[in-house]
């Protein structure tokens, strides 16, 4: 498959898109791990939400 005389522009478009999507996925995955770790740490120290003691429905 030939990308013609403007191959650089096409390759750059796909590279930028892949990079931005990869950064977005990595950021969300890292954030999830961080929040889970902090929550586990707080629960281990005996801190629990009121809702967890009750109906378990608050954010």
């Amino acid at each position: 498959m030939s990308l013609g005389p403007h191959a650089d522009f096409i390759v750059a478009s796909y590279a930028v898109t892949a990079l931005v999507v990869a950064v977005l996925i990595a950021w969300i995955a890292t954030d999830f791990s961080a929040q889970k770790r902090v929550l586990a740490d707080l629960e281990q120290r005996g801190v629990t939400r009121r809702s967890k003691r009750g109906d378990g429905d608050a954010p």
Partner: protein
């Protein structure tokens, strides 16, 4: 389970944990098929192979606008019903919408140089999309600056509603003003003006990007709910509860 039950954060988290791996898998499969169809798509008779940029640029543009539309609906949920999950949805959509708008601007510039002979012109379509990106940055700054999520939520909801005015301006800018950007060629009266050999891969890529948006949005909403739980627990810990 009724739809209204999903507005409960705990039930929403349970659903996301169950659905997210499947959604991510389907997204990857549709992307793989879409890219396969892109590789097989013919060159445009005028633009040559640069038409391949369209398979990224157009879906990114749609999702940049959809991200703000999601935030607008979420803003109504925040201001009218004051539901915390509405603000979670709005806040989580902001960085994803900003990323897709950024992709739209960059791929548009890279497509414009070989097609128009310039990376950028201050025409109505390009400028209104740049305004959308700046609105996203303002929204992110507003969220990150707010120490109390509830206070930030109201300000962000108002900004989302004000910024929603820009969405129809982007859509109709190519009809209302004389622009270098081409007029609508897919969603227009009389049907799409693109041959099926290019339109079909474009629609598959649009579906893949839409699935990616919702996969990332659900994952980001889960993170935000957890972040608010951490904040609540830290406050309780500080109070010695």
């Amino acid at each position: 389970m009724a739809v209204i039950d999903l507005a409960n954060p705990t039930r929403f988290l349970t659903l996301v944990d169950r659905v997210l791996p499947w959604l991510a898998g389907v997204t990857a499969l549709v992307f793989a098929y879409g890219l396969y169809r892109v590789l097989g798509a013919p060159d445009d008779y005028q633009q040559g192979a640069t038409v391949k940029i369209m398979f990224l640029h157009v879906p990114a543009a749609w999702l940049g606008m959809m991200g703000w539309s999601v935030m607008t609906v979420a803003a109504l949920g925040t201001l009218v019903w004051r539901h915390p999950l509405a603000d979670v949805a709005g806040k989580s959509a902001a960085p994803i919408g900003a990323a897709f708008t950024f992709i739209c601007l960059v791929t548009g510039a890279l497509w414009g140089r070989p097609t128009w002979g310039t990376y950028w012109v201050w025409d109505a379509r390009l400028t209104s999309v740049l305004v959308l990106f700046l609105l996203y940055l303002g929204m992110l700054a507003l969220y990150w600056a707010a120490e109390d999520p509830n206070r930030g939520a109201r300000a962000a909801a108002i900004l989302a509603l004000v910024g929603a005015v820009n969405i129809p301006i982007i859509k109709f800018s190519v009809e209302w003003w004389n622009t270098l950007h081409q007029p609508a060629s897919i969603m227009r009266a009389g049907g799409a003006a693109i041959d099926a050999s290019i339109l079909t891969p474009l629609l598959i890529m649009a579906l893949a990007f839409t699935l990616l948006f919702f996969t990332l949005h659900f994952a980001a909403m889960r993170n935000e709910i957890l972040r608010r739980r951490v904040r609540t627990m830290r406050m309780m810990q500080a109070r010695g509860a």
